[in-house]
Symmetry: C2
Subunit: 336 residues, 2 copies
């Protein structure tokens, strides 16, 4: 990031309602989780934290082992109507098409540029992968971070018109801060691209890049004019989704979390892996039940489908966070 | 780890001279780096830390960006006469051969079991990889951690007769603690196996598993009798050496370190990558110059060969830590 660019980013954050929120949350004297209704989900979170932090308690967990993992899309920020990274890909293809005239007649670019999402969907996963690689590979890791930062400065959510960095759930920001105040280390474990998240997770969630786990493409170290660069290659390296999530957790963290939060079937194995460890465990699902303030979806949804994991939550007694019932507020810009 | 096993490990640590040492180091009032001679290497380390931590200073670096990376073998602990992980492999093959009678006549196992290292070397890298997979794969990640823990309880260094966990360099332990006292986050970036290091890095170096980067084999998540396990597969996933080190750093940390410490050509790219960033940088090489207290080796050595990186250190003005000249003490068990 250049100094000028950094100043622009800092100015954007300072103007955001979230920056004040983050400060307010860090006061340990205040009642915890103020945006949560006084219901069963909040009660179970508080009871779990009390159990693992009470010195001499039967379920006490030493600070270094207090690891909490969070899915990102649909768990920390909104994923409807389309994953944010999908919108990034579409915007980038449009921006890049100015210097790629051949894309106007070449699939899958042509369908996307015409706005023909049906034709695009017909291309299946292969078409999506092609678009992802065209927008995510071919540059250095530093250059890609800057592209993401720049995009976030101007991109707006198609429904709310808000920057994506305001589409985060206030109750989850409070939860992240509350866990950290209680000695937890908080990690993101997302199916999304690791380098797509890292440029902004620290200032939005208070989660530094080294605590972000996600899907990766291959990178290659090389010297260009004597300067070392890490070049992003158009080749999938690791998919941090479903059964990949516990694998990503092992690789990056090296020990089993004691708390996990997800919202879809992509999080099932992460929740299983976390819940199966010894001692007190918190496995929780954020359920999208609020059609007014957010979206209402589960089994039938293409984005964030929640089916098997909901069944397992019921069978195993995991915590279900019902957005409509459990959250007083969803977004910072909601009327209070 | 079972409760009994944990108690045994704790008992071993409590009896170790290192545990007292770790406490002594953490006193910020004491003069920093007491086991270092008052020479150029120590002076450069102190000057660097002063520059990046001085509030309002021209080279000030915010705490979250104070990332320091350390190679392990030959940088934090001894790597002669053979990498510790190599000795682990040999010991495990011998132990496992009790239930594998076919190994007595099957290469490369037979050569190892006969102690015929020349024949083994003739098998090349392929033979070594076979032995590594036989000892590192086929069990769950939890079971492998326990195997490593158990081995460290009884294994002894072939020259000194000490546990390997005492073969760590006291000046480097002091350096790790000193950097952390100054807001640095310390990481290991090693060519060694990530799961071979994680069981002990926290208690020996104060580096938690999530700050250990190393080579990996593939793991697979599966349910066995309804219980989730991560199974280690006999397949290389990532080699965290040479040009792999900056790639591993990007993947795990997501930002460029400002300080890096290595000792061999395997660390060259990590040092280049660190040194090439903007602002104050510390790139340092531990040079093995002390045939009496440790070992004396560089260009001609098979283990820890230091050739190109030493040339680049001279050309670019990197810091060379000369063990014989710069360290008052090497190991905790040395006479003072």
């Amino acid at each position: 990031m250049t100094a000028l660019h950094r100043r622009r980013v800092v100015a954007l954050i300072a103007a955001s309602p979230l920056s004040g929120l983050a400060r307010a949350q860090s006061s340990p004297a205040a009642e915890p989780l103020p945006s949560w209704q006084d219901g069963p989900a909040r009660a179970r979170i508080l009871a779990f934290v009390k159990a693992v932090t009470e010195p001499g308690g039967r379920e006490f967990v030493p600070v270094p082992e207090r690891i909490a993992v969070f899915d990102n899309d649909g768990t920390l920020w909104a994923e409807q109507p389309v994953y944010v990274q999908g919108l990034f890909i579409a915007d980038r293809i449009r921006a890049m098409s100015a210097t790629r005239p051949e894309w106007k007649t070449k699939e899958p670019y042509a369908s996307l540029l015409r706005g023909d999402l049906k034709a695009l969907a017909a291309g299946g996963e292969h078409a999506i992968a092609q678009l992802a690689m065209a927008t995510h590979a071919g540059m250095s890791s530093d250059a890609f971070s800057k592209i993401v930062e720049d995009w976030l400065l101007t991109a707006r959510h198609p429904k709310t018109g808000r920057p994506y960095t305001e589409m985060v759930y206030v109750p989850m920001l409070e939860l992240l801060a509350y866990l950290r105040e209680n000695g937890f280390k908080t990690f993101i474990v997302s199916g999304g691209g690791i380098e797509f998240m890292r440029p902004w997770t620290e200032r939005i969630y208070g989660i530094p890049p080294e605590q972000v786990i996600g899907s990766t493409i291959r990178t290659k170290y090389e010297l260009r004019d004597g300067q070392p660069v890490l070049v992003r290659l158009p080749e999938i390296d690791f998919v941090d989704d479903k059964a990949g999530k516990p694998v990503g957790i092992l690789r990056h963290i090296g020990r089993r979390p004691i708390a996990a939060f997800g919202n879809s079937d992509g999080d099932l194995q992460m929740l299983q892996w976390t819940a199966a460890g010894p001692g007190a465990r918190l496995a929780a699902i954020v359920r999208h039940t609020d059609a007014v303030r957010e979206w209402e979806y589960d089994r039938a949804s293409k984005v964030g489908r929640l089916d098997k994991a909901l069944g397992e939550a019921a069978a195993r007694g995991w915590t279900v966070i019902d957005m409509k019932r459990d959250w007083r507020r969803v977004f910072a810009f909601d009327a209070r």
